[in-house]
Structures are given as C-alpha cells and as structure tokens.
Amino acid sequence: MDVLQLAISGLANGCVYGLIALGFVLIYKATEAVNFAQGDFMMLGAFITLGLTNAEFMGLPFWIAVPIAIAIMAAFGYLLDMLVLRRMFGQSQIAVVMLTIALGFVLRFVAGTIWGHEPKSLESPIAGLDVRFGGLVLGLDEISVIIVTVLLTIVLYLYFNRTKLGIAMQAASQNQLAAYYMGIPVKRVHSMIWALAGAVAAIAGVLFASKGSIDPSTGLLGIKAFAAAVIGGFGSLPGALLGGVIVGLIEPFASYYIAAGYSQVMPYLLLFLILVFRPHGILAQIHRKKV
C-alpha cells in the first residue's frame, strides 16, 4: 500500500515537472531558445489564478479564474517573444539563457511585490479532498493533476498532428528557412509557441498550487523540471513528460528508502549519469551536427 501511495504522489509531482518541462521543450524545439524562466512562468500563472480567485484579492469563481489566467499567460508569452526575444534571433543560445534567467529574477520580484513573499495557498475546489479506493487514501488534487496532464498531453498530441497550425509549428521547428518558403509566418509561429508554453505553464501552476502552497521562489522548481527535460531528452515532447515522471517518482521513493540528506541528491545524480552516458536523454532527438 505504501508503495502505491508513494507512487501516486510521486506521479502527481512528476506530472507538474513534466508540464513545466513540456514548456521548455516546446520553446526549445521551435526556436532553439532555452527558457530558464519557465518555472517562473508557472509561478506567475499560479499567482494570477490565486489573485483572481482568492477572497482577499478578486474573489472570482475558480472556474472563471483559470481560463482568464491561462489567457493572460498566453498573451504574456506572445508579447514576450514579440517584444524581447525576437531581437535575440541569431545570437548565441547562452545569451538567451542569461536573458531568461534575468527575466526569472524580475518575475519573482514582481510576484513578490504584488502578492507578498509568504507562502499562500490557492482556494481551489479540488484542494484537500480525499478519494478512497479500498484501503487507499488518495488526494483528489493528486488524481486530478494526473488526469489533467494526460488530457493535456492528448490535446497537444492531436494539436500538433491534426491541426494546420500545429503542423506549421512542427515545420517551423524542423527547418525555419524551408518553412518560410512554404509560406509559414515563422516569426508569428514562434510567438505562438511562446504563448502555448505560457498557457501550459499556467495550467501547471494551477495544478501545483492546488497541491500545496506557493510563494514567489516556487519558480526555482523549474530547475528540477529542467533536469526532467534533460533526462527525458531535450527536444522530445514525450521525453519531457517521461523525464518529469521519472524525477517525480524518484523523489518520494528516495526519501522513503534512503537516509535524509542523500535523498534529495538523487534526481541530480541521475541527471549527471544521463549526461555522461546518454548525453541526449532517454528519447534522444538531437544528433551531432555534421558538416
């Protein structure tokens, strides 16, 4: 029973990591930019929802607040690409990395100034309820995280394979020049990818905030999601989720079976081993460039 309980909570955490990692990978695949602020996007999405729902702020109903927050984050992502990141086109990856790290600092400050630095919890209808299966007690929040992640994955899969815009995004990520020749507005597609990443981050933020409290430095969770993305294989959407789930599962089991102090090292140790022995992740999509 313990094992199952641990697995479910690990899976729920892993899904959040996976969703953040998904944001990284979406952006990386399409624009080759690495968005280190993705964790902070998640934090911002969670705080916007919190600001709209919680009684002390706007007090809107939860189900109205969530779509608004997703829309705000999508718009934020779109504008960010249009106004800031488009100027970085053609510069080295590292420059973009540093830009997004700096952006993370700024976002943390903004969120802290607006909503305060103390941990806050989202007044969501799924928080704190239990579901019983036989002898198993599971949090409704954990189960809904898993269900929403699965649904979101299916939606994204269909979107990328069935819709015109999704295929245009794939094309733009595979070969920008060729996509441009085919009449795809590559710049706008890039901005849309950022919007999509913002929306996914907002969903991840809502899910994470329903599971526990959030504060402005929650965004540092993005580092774990980053590890997840690398473990799964940067540049592979299923890999991101797989990596997220692996990291999520390792954590509770490591803290259960291994002495404290050693357990939190495990995800990074795995990351290290993956980088050394399988540098491009489990589901590798990237190969060495040949001349």
Binding site: A95, L99, F109, F272, R288, K289, K290
Partner: protein
C-alpha cells in the same frame, strides 16, 4: 587615434600595444596600491570584495568569454577552493602560502575531472550539467559534515605569511594588498594565456567547434583544459572569499552565486579582462548603491527607509536584460564605443560596431 607601426612580429602579441597604454595601466596600478591610504575601512572592504569578485569573474571568463562554454555552477568551485584552503590549513596544518595555491590546484583538478566526461556536451547541456553540480555540491557539503562542519560552517584561521599576520578585520589594508597581488597575478596569467597557442585554440573552439576541429584543435581536450584553468582561478577566488566572509557554510556558495557570477561577466563585457572588473563593480557595489539611494529617497519623502525584499536581484535582472538587448558587449563594449568615437572624432559612423546579421545557428540535425 594612435596607429601602431609594427616593426616586429612581437608587436601583435605584446602585453601593451604602445607606451602610452602601458603608462595608463601603471598609473592605475599605483592608484590601486595606494587605495588603503585613500579610503576608510568600510570602503576598503568593499573594494576588496570587488577584487575578489573580479578574480572569480576572470575565472569564469576563461570558460565563457574565451572558450564559449557556459557554466551555471561555478559556485561549486568557489566552494571547493574555499573548503580546500581552510581544511588544508586547519586539520592538515599547512601554511597559507602552500594551502592557497593548492586550493586552486584542487579546484582545477576537480574541474578537469568533471569536464572530461561532459566535454562531449555543448551549449546548454554543459550549462545544465554544471547547474546540477552546483546543487550537488551544496548537498555534499552537508553530507560530509565531519569534514566540513555541515550547516554550522567553518571559520577560516588568520592568515600568516612569513610572520606577517593578515586578518580581514584587524588589518584590512594587508588583506586588500594580498587580494590585489592575487588579482594582478591572475590578470598576468590570463593575459599571457591569450597569447599562447592554447589561448588561441580556446577562441577557435568558441567561434566554431567544427572549424576548430578542422584546423586540428582537439576540441574535447581544449574544453577540459579550459574548464580546469577556469575552475582553478575560481577556486583561488573562493579561498579568498572564505577569508573575506569570516565564516562560511554550504549556503555561502549557493546556486544564486553561480548565476550572479555568470550574469556579472555578461554585464561587464564577455571575453575581456576589463569586463570581469566592470561586472565585479556592479555586483559588489549594487547593494550599497541601493542602500544609499534608499536612504536618500527615504529622506526626501520624509519617511523612514523603505525595505523592498528582492529589489536587488530584480534590479540586477533588469540591468542584465537591458544590456543583453541593447549592449551585448557589456559595459566594456560601451566604453570601447565611446572611446572610439572620440579617437576618430568626426569620422565615427553609427554602424561601425553593428552586429552582423546572422541566422539561427543550429546544433542539431533535425
């Protein structure tokens, strides 16, 4: 503008381009040496801090500016240098004169060992690997408690070089001179490194790995050597930082320090020694600048000083965003442009330093 008429092959690799330049740097050196007589204890401490950050910045600059490899985990090597230096002095009993270079050596060897398996990685993967390293180091220091005293931390002993005691608080001027000597030594090593074949191969790897390989540069080895040199210098800075801080634990060298170090050299100007120093001034003096401006604003508004948590890193982040967008060459780049403007006076053109239009450089096959 002064045109140097080259009369020998050495003119290309001389330390100074012409006598006037050398004179300026000597004047700067004299000023730096005389600083303890000009400044009070507090500002001397701040200047020492600037120098230590500049040494650490030069360490990272070798890797990022010269070889083009990003490391997000250099705080790990600050920590290694710091702990090695103190542990070699206290339980082992070596004098500072030996423990200090050994600390750099240990950090360098550690860096090389870590870089060797990771030298196949490029760009972002190396960044993530080093990021993980920084987090692991934090945890490892706690785990290795018998040696490192865990979260309680260690207190570095007073330095004694051939009978002269140097303490951060008792004799701040001596400590400043010690740091200055180390900084100058590092500058000379760095400057000379750039003139060697090794330094040239660093630049080749930075500009294009593929063409570096085609020119016969062993890319993996160059990266590992660069990492080792970078971490050795950073280790020296870490050892000084430990003595400067007075007490340190696993939190002293956290992830934020690594990131701050990286952002610092970008603000300063990538690929130049000047950049490390300009960046160090920004990082080390920004908290003071904020504190002073806060007092001024508080006095103007008639109220007490207002404390805004997180303001420092937010200003830092905003500065960095502005620099990356509008002046990718950093403070040094801006200074260089201003200088060129006056040197060429009526003939400066706006597009002189215009970035070449480039397309997305891809590292992947599909």
């Amino acid at each position: 503008m002064r045109t140097v008429f080259k009369t020998s092959y050495d003119a290309d690799i001389n330390l100074f381009r012409h006598g006037q330049q050398a004179a300026w740097y000597i004047a700067l050196l004299v000023l730096a040496v005389a600083l303890p007589f000009l400044l009070g204890t507090f500002w001397l401490g701040e200047m020492t801090n600037v120098l230590i950050w500049a040494i650490a910045g030069m360490g990272l600059m070798v890797l990022v500016g010269q070889t083009g490899q990003a490391s997000l985990g250099h705080a790990a090597f600050l920590a290694i240098g710091c702990y090695a230096n103190v542990l070699l002095q206290d339980p082992v009993g070596l004098p500072f004169v030996l423990s200090f270079p050994l600390a750099g050596l240990i950090a360098g060897v550690a860096g090389t060992l870590i870089a060797m398996p990771m030298s196949q990685l490029h760009g972002i993967y190396l960044g993530i690997g080093t990021l993980a390293l920084a987090i692991l180091t934090d945890d490892l220091i706690v785990i290795a408690e018998p040696l490192t005293n865990g979260v309680v931390g260690l207190i570095p002993p007073t330095i004694s070089i051939f009978g002269v005691t140097i303490d951060r608080y008792m004799t701040p001027d001596r400590f400043y001179w010690l740091v200055l000597v180390v900084a100058i030594a590092v500058i000379l090593i760095y400057r000379n490194l750039l003139r060697t074949p090794l330094g040239r191969s660093f630049s080749a790897v930075r500009d294009s790995e593929v063409s570096a390989r085609a020119m016969g540069v062993n890319v993996a080895r160059t990266k590992a050597v660069s990492f080792g040199m970078s971490t050795a210098i950073t280790g020296l800075a870490g050892a000084l930082m430990g003595h400067f801080a007075g007490v340190f634990n696993n939190e002293t060298f956290n992830l934020v320090i690594s990131i701050q170090l990286l952002l610092m050299i970008v603000i300063g100007g990538l690929g130049t020694i000047h950049g490390a120093f300009f960046g160090a001034f920004v990082v080390a003096l920004l908290p003071q600048a904020i504190a002073i401006s806060r007092d001024v604003v508080g006095a103007l508004l008639g109220g007490g000083a207002v404390a805004i948590p997180g303001l420092e890193s937010a200003i830092f982040g905003a500065l960095l965003i502005l620099f990356i967008l509008f002046e990718p060459m950093g403070i040094y780049g801006r200074w260089f442009k201003i200088r060129t403007y006056f040197e060429l006076f009526p003939f400066y053109r706006r597009d002189m330093f215009r970035r070449q239009k480039s397309y997305l450089k891809t590292e992947r096959m599909r």
